[in-house]
Amino acid sequence: MAATTGNVRASGDSVPEIFESMDYGPAPESPDVVRAWLDKYDRSFGHFINGKWVKPEGRKTYQTKCPSTGEVLATTIQGEDEDVDLAVAAARKAFESWSTLPCHVRARYLYSIARNMQKHQRILTVMESLDNGKPFRESRDADIPLVVRHFYHHAGWAQLMDTEMKGWKPIGVVGAIVPWNFPLMLLTWKVCPALAMGNTVVLKPATYTRMSALMLAEICAEAGLPPGVFNVVTGNGRFGSKLACHPDVDKVGFTGSTEVGQLLRRAVAGTGKKLSLELGGKSPFVVFDSADLDSAVEGVVDAIWFNQGQVCSAGSRLLVQESVFNPFITKLKARMSHLRVGDNLDKCIDMGALVDETQMKTIKEYVEEARKEGAEVHQVSASFPKHDKGFFYPPTLITNVQTVSRVVREEIFGPVLVALPFRTAKEAIALGNNTNYGLGASVWTESIPLGLEAAVSLKAGAVWVNCHNMFDAAAGFGGYKESGYGRDGGKEGLYEYAKPSWQDRPRPNCGEINYTTFAAKYGATVPPIPGSGTVGDKSLTSDGAILPGIDRTYKLYYGGGQKRPDGQYSRPVTGQEGRVLALVGEANRKDVRNAVEAAHKAAPGWGKRAAHNRAQIVYYMAENLEIRRQEFTQQLQLMTGRSEEDCRREVDLAVQRLFYWGAYCDKYGGTVQETTLYGVTAKIHEPMGVIGIACPEEYPLLGFVSLFAPAVVRGNAMIVVPSQKHPLSALDFYQVFDTSDLPGGVVNILTGDRDHITKYLVEHQDIQAMWYFGSAEGSKFVEWTSAENLKRTWVDYGIARDWTDPQQGQGEEFLYQATQAKNIWLPMGDIFAN
């Protein structure tokens, strides 16, 4: 039912008049305390470095304004390169002592910050709303409580690092770059795990919203945090890049747009820095006909009008089952007519102001374009500010659009919802996944089997069942596909701020790479031409007659079969004395294409196999490998010239490793997260999908097994490029695959030039991750090129690891790389009263 009061009626505001009209009046929160804080610093702020305010001379300034009134809140500075140097140096110095503190001591500091933040909860709340334009109610009920919760939760992880994160150590200095939509909350998501794991931080808040970060820095100092552990510097986007690229920054944690994420990925490619990206989204909100429609309508409010729709996981694509589409839209329109847009400090509003004029302009352009395409644009609200000092935009619903429209495909980052009908659950999932993004999704149904199946089928880092935009420190948040990688929150989030204990920060030095020509030429490394050698004498004597040896030319292996290379070239594989041992296929881009297709065909079925079944197959591989122990040993000897004993050890370790990973088939499925939700938050470790794996040159068998096995057991399909120099052990292995009941297409093997094949793998848009163990240059190339579709990468920067060492050749790092965490939120409750 439409609201019967609104901005059309101008009723008076005497008690008798309000008694008649029943209008809501203004209900403002006072900004006085925030103003007092701002005034204390004459409304002029610098950086916060090494525990104190630093205001270098001669910096350009930026005026921070309140988006809903235009009031100038303060002047901040635009940092320059030397400011980054100063802050990173402070963080580097602080890292020396901070990283070596006992866990309990770091826990005490984090706990102290949590307590101090609670003490200042109200001023942080008001500051956040003034700075960003978001409703006071949201800062009060969502942002700030979550911020405090994160500090408490991570005080716990700090305490438990020794026991819960065995085998991991701090990374170093973290450069954190965060956006303006949840200024304090999103910085907390970086700072908490970073500090808890023993790192120090230099943070650059977004240009529009710097104030709460600066205030937090002061609170942290007051809470006793040692100087230099947490530093805040302000500046523009270029300044942020400078921070990310600073050689002494060891890890970059970024939340923001996909475009900037791509820039950062390229900027730090090949530097050995860790990177996590939490990027954009176009999250589906799926309503089935079995849903409580009225509740789903409220869910839409949470999904798209929360924070004016400026939420990376905003449910901006409404997908409704055709049978209930019209009634649902009718209900939704009625609900919209009750939404109140107003001043951010008013406690009686649903939506505040957009952060800035440019944001408003972009949104308007999107909506106008949709209108021109013939879409129906519905904009309504119960009240709307009458002044034009703020950047207010009404809640917007767009219908009569289809998947081809830009408003359906692109992230608008505003209060704009598009609605599309679907026919069946299968189609809903297909539409839900028909996007470059994969951050969040929600599913609305009262059917448990449908809700769970849909939640598992939607490719997104967070899936909410009968709710949307639920967050908690105990559950990781982050994306699939072009929504980035890495998780903020939960145990899964800690791995972004820790590295294996045995590993040093790689500092490769590989100079500039021409990304167009790198490894671009087919057959460049070993020309597959006749005359490059003949396969050594394999003739044998039978019944006194000398028989010529049977030619050994290995083919490529994909889709469960041996396939002749598309280029129809083969390359010789030479042993120690330059003797040609065999010829192997020389794969090109078309072979990559075919192999990826085969892998995708196999991936869904393999991912759905019961873990027990996968384990059986992997153990069977171990069994079949051991049967051929002698043969594999000999082949290794022939290729590498190493001793028989050494080669046998490699085979035996490979068998062991298969057992190790066979064991993990059914022991890493996920956990139940202890969030604040009344219900179950289930973290599922889902397979990445299709992974490209370039194996190291050394340990032709063990390296190969160590990499494919964790990927296989966690349900991935893969294209493996075996050791370029010694590929035969991997090729011999396909007979093991075939006799172990591994379904065709799960493991595909392409031989040839490692970097050339890698190039086409990493450039393939439908590969979800690339593992590369090769050169420093190749590593840089992989990281740089991966930016295009933001596939996850795992590279060695040309630094070999000891595959025989269990610490380096197996373990949690491999599980982490082979999976992506999805958190499914399942609120519970039906028991009522008696």
């Binding site: 439409a2 409580d292 009522f832 008696n834």
Partner: protein, 352 residues
Amino acid sequence: MVVRRDFGSRKIGGASLAQTGAPCTDKNLSYSTVMACRNPGVELDLGWVQSTRVNQPATIRRAQYLSTTRTVKKKWQASWLLRAVTCIDLTTLSGDDTPANVQRLCYKAYHPVRDDLLKAVNMQDKGITTGAVCVYPARVKEAVKYLKQAGANIPVASVATGFPSGQYPLSTRLQEVRDAVLQGASEIDIVISRTQALSGDWQGVYDEVKAFREACGEAHLKTILATGELGSLTNVYKASLVAMMAGSDFIKTSTGKEGVNAILPVGVVMCRAIRDYYQRTGYKVGFKPAGGIRSAKDACTWLALMKEELGDEWTHPSMFRIGASGLLTDIERQLYHHVYGRYAAAHQLPMS
């Protein structure tokens, strides 16, 4: 508001409802008069009833959202509180009720807010009284008498049908209704049979409520669902629909005697049912939360619920009542504070 008879795919049962439907047109409701329009009811549509789904966690979330996004301050708060006063069914339902306290209650209903407070906000001539006085059947006669004595035109509501348990023979429950009407009650607050509701006998619930409605005659029928004894919010929704189909003019949450009484999530569910029923049939049904509403702030939140889920029309006493006894005291205290800027002592306000 537009009546959408084509809403959804299901047809409504009653063939003649279009003729009997009496849409509310009275825009100038006075705040102490009886409800303006009736709900004639429709045939029981079990398909509709059984198809309802209520997701409890999401409903609770809606209730929380509502109570944290809507607030009124200062003049607006004072105005809303006065409106709340006009919606109160000022109630006494105790074993020890006697003419003494019933008379006091009736006089308080007629003068719910001190004159000086009303004058201070220029509301002294608006006829501010409570919506009704609500008593047991045996007290109806004197309540009518005292209100008349006081010169008040305030309806007397009587609980009936074996209130609060309803565990009595149908014959006596029907007789209670008739007696209460005969004594001068113009509103009858009946309770549904939880026995029938919990055992899934919606036909039984429907038939009984329909019978009570007939027994009411001209008196308005307010049907108490005793939601705290229905076991699930889905059952609350179903009971709401069945009660409306059977011709209830109001649906009411609780007797005040259950373990859980008027809570906001239940209000959300019942309002949605009212909206659904209205959109499918064109009949408007009123809502009465009762039991546990004690603070002025709560009263504003319930008014906001009506405004948000159903629209401004449902903030009038013709469509909205709050069953309460102590609430009025807190409201009067808040009004005192609004006027004088000080918190009143209890003894400064006439007790009811």
